[in-house]
Amino acid sequence: MSPETAPRREVVTGEPRRVRPLPRYRTQAEIEEQTALGGAYVRSLMRSQLRAGLTVFAVLALVAGTLPLLFAALNSAALVWAVLGFATYPPLTLAAWWYVRRAERNERDFARLVEGRPTP
């Protein structure tokens, strides 16, 4: 890249200003103004998300906590090699996929609640 051919670089700082729309729903306003009711809504969302996260984490902890004991009891290096080397990765990815679906569903349900739409 020689200086003649390179396009002129411009440093643009700052985000374009956006007009802040008024909240469309009353519950949304409650949340934004941090009223007691709005706080309760956010807490309920957090609880459902934390529950999903803790579910995955508990299963992971249970498996990771018992596997070393199991390996020590069986004392088979080939088994350890096969399980740790190859069998662990698909379940890890599946657990992640399940969690994302669950978390996004929680958020959709929450949005419905806020917008006052009935859950299907």
């Binding site: 949304q28 190859f86 990815t93 969690y99």
Partner: protein, 500 residues
Amino acid sequence: MSTPDHTASWVAVALVVLATVLVGGFGLRISRTTSDFYVASRTVRPRLNAAAISGEYLSAASFLGVAGLVLLHGPDMLWYPVGYTAGYLVLLVFVAAPLRRSGAYTLPDFAEGRLESLHVRRLVSILVVGAGWLYLVPQLQGAGLTLKILTGAPGWLGDVLVATVVMVAVAAGGMRSITFVQVFQYWLKLTALLVPALFLVLAWQGDGRPRVSFDDQFAVFRADHPLYATYGLIVATFLGTMGLPHVVVRFYTSPNGRDARRTTVAVLALVGLFYLLPPIYGALGRLYAPELRHGGDADAAVLLLPARVIGGLGGDLLGALIAGGAFAAFLSTASGLTMAVAGVITQDVLPSRGVRHFRLATVLAIAVPLAGSLLVSRVPVADAVGMAFAVSASSFCPLLVLGIWWRRLTPPGAIAGLLLGGGSALLAVAITVSGAVTPPGWPHALLAWPAVWSVPVGFLAMILVSLATPGRIPPGTNAAMTRFHLPEALTSARGAGRER
């Protein structure tokens, strides 16, 4: 058997370095704005971003270290790659989306945004720079080892080469160019292990499938308390991933919290795919390069196998491919870490901000670990990385998890947890590396694998001191919690204007 031909390896390393600089240069051309420079304008879509994250994450410890450890100590060491992967799952379920929504670019940003305290920010900055440097040293040392084995160059040359390329690439192009470099390097790393592995397995079958024995290992684990050491490893890697500076910075390049989550799933798949390969090298290494168990350079197993097993021109070419992949591993992780550490130095150490100061910070960020890698004696690559994970798990993990999910966290609590958890882990690591406590006995085991006790210490200190100082709960806590957890559908119109 033949000694590898050095020309092919030199060419491969030169090509990777050249490609990195060129792809970085391409990024530089389109990296127009300050926002591009730091966070790729937050527009990196999940799939591209996942490849970039994976490319950055798969370091020398993964590319060379895991196979070396399996060769040396047996299959128990495969807990390392399992932990590196599972760490992303823990990151996903507790941190990913809220961290993105917090709008924090670095961990110090998160700490200040959540706790509204400059003291916490300073402390986190120090720990981030420390952990980043701790993680950079083995990357540079691995590069030195690789270049020495493959080309016969003096040991320091690889360290200096990687440090220089990283400095140029990061300082010139910033985050956007690094994103493209890392996507390219993920696929390069995967290919560089996959293709030789196929040939090696074929050669092994041609040999009549000799049985690999793991029974003759002279030390099952490096500890005399193998079960404790395994748990130490599990805790450190599962919980430490979320706090690694280069991992955190990457999340900010996602457009929003939902994409940050989806990106993480793709990362798990890509990282898991890559980790299917090192166990194969470890097992074949025991068969074809058993003498490495006694030499000390077990990290070289991956590099030596093609010449050993296949030999001739084919072996040289496959060896060159692996050499190129190994260099991609050093370059990508080192660039990501340098980017993250330099970001913190720019914001919290140097007097004024701006791209010029970022470039100065880049020099600082890489020069210190380079000096360290040249001065400190070599610790096995995966071990050194494991120590960085232990420090991160004991300090940043409590800060992130409690910061995101617990409203009663206070600045004094955070400081107590960071100092007691992270500080004690750091101290334990320092004592282990200095060699003051030697292997047989519990003291060494407890200090070499500190995470089992230092993570609870960090969490407990943070919780107890926070409960003792209820008057110090930051006034903006509820607003922060709302920002972290509210889905984009309900905030997008406001959130966009609020971020930097």
